[in-house]
Amino acid sequence: MRCEEIRQQLGPYLDNELPSGVEALVSAHLEACKTCRLESAALNRLASQLERAPSVPVPDALWNSIEHRLDTESPRVVTPPPIEPVWAGRRGPLALAAAVILAVGLGTMGLMSSESHAQPSVSFCVLLDALPLDAHKAFRKFLVLYDAKQVTPVEARRHAPELSFDTPTTLPGGFRLQGVYLLRFGERPGIAARYDRNGEFLAAIFHTPVRQEHHGTHKDLPCVVGQHRGHKVQVGDWKLVHLTDPTTCHCVLSRLDEQSELPSIMAVVAPPAR
């Protein structure tokens, strides 16, 4: 065998992956060829370095997190009772609240349509799990998960014409718009917006509404913004509130009080369905 052929076999030779006949040929060649011996030694040192990796202890919390998700993400389908949307004549947050269907549940959600079972899903787990540690980071992870692309508010409307939402430059209470993002929930577009008020973080996420969804970790609580049934998911001080109309599920993540500040913000980001 020529040196070039031997070099192709050196890796498998050092990995003990060669048939015995070929291995003997390589061994014999290395006995006779100093250059290939040096190459073999270099590869051997590289292998040794690669094998000397520092140990990586498994975090104690990992199994608990897995078990928690095993308990909470089992596919228990929850179908909210039908509530007729009544959009006409809505004024203010209470009327808005009365006119929406609030999707129940988080976790993995099938999108509402006749082909809902075949549709891609929206998972808020990555957002909720990391919230207590760092809300900004949790939101960034959510953006990454759904291929976020930053867009202008106008572009957001153009890319997601089927969704009804608003991302004004300011929200009631003095929150200022920091960024709008186009997301991809499978084949469906979604929109996210990030707001700030003197370091206080608020995010809004809009996606196609759901009729059926796998129940998440939350409890089905009394409505947070009005008379309709609904829910919020609370993780520490953080609340993720869903407000759904026939075209769009509006989700707001904030630490705001649901009786005072939140309703006016929900009313702005969730305009009447077109």
Binding site: L50, I66, R140
Partner: protein
């Protein structure tokens, strides 16, 4: 409990068996994810996904490979998909002039020198190959199972991955430092 018994009980949703499978395999799976992603937070998240997927799909495990190899396969797929998403998002955000929106991967605590540092810069698929061979100690057949490729291609892909790594290293390997292939005297061999 034998691996076969363990898997059978996992198929029945036995939580004790699931925990046992986790205990037996998580050091390998988590270590591979940390090395692939170079970020312990992301590895923590993806490790959860790996086990949830494994428990949900364990009926699909056909027993032709070790269960650890099957878990490696899920872990590698999850890691490659995640890195792809991160790269796409980062490129898009950079194009929009907002590179800081997605934090770069590889935090300071995870940064390592020399081989580890170079390993982090090779293509994710090459990294997976090298990690499975040298840090997880898999033979070529198991690597092929874990990566879903033919056993015959593992050797050539490993050769290429090693060469790319050596190009990046540029030094530290005796009198062949910085070279990707030795200069042979004409007619040798």
């Amino acid at each position: 409990m034998t691996e076969k018994d363990l898997i059978q009980r996992c198929r029945q949703g036995d939580r004790v068996a699931q925990r046992e499978l986790y205990e037996r395999t998580s050091p390998k799976v988590y270590r591979l994810l940390v090395r692939m992603l170079r970020n312990t937070d992301d590895a923590f998240d993806l490790a959860q996904d790996v086990y949830l997927k494994a428990f949900a799909q364990i009926d699909k495990f056909d027993g032709r490979s070790a269960i650890a190899t099957w878990l490696y396969r899920i872990a590698v797929n999850e890691a490659l998909q995640f890195l792809r998403r991160v790269n796409i998002a980062r490129e898009r955000l950079q194009q929009m002039g907002v590179a800081a929106t997605v934090e770069p991967h590889g935090n300071g605590a995870d940064a390592r020198l020399d081989v580890e540092g170079s390993l982090a810069t090779v293509a994710p698929t090459d990294r997976a190959l090298l990690l499975l061979r040298y840090q997880e100690g898999l033979d070529y057949r198991s690597i092929a199972d874990a990566l879903g490729c033919a056993e015959g291609t593992v050797a050539s892909r490993l050769n290429r991955a090693r060469e790319r790594l050596r190009v990046l290293l540029k030094g530290g390997y005796g009198n062949r430092e910085g070279t990707t292939s030795p200069m042979h005297p004409k007619g040798s061999g």
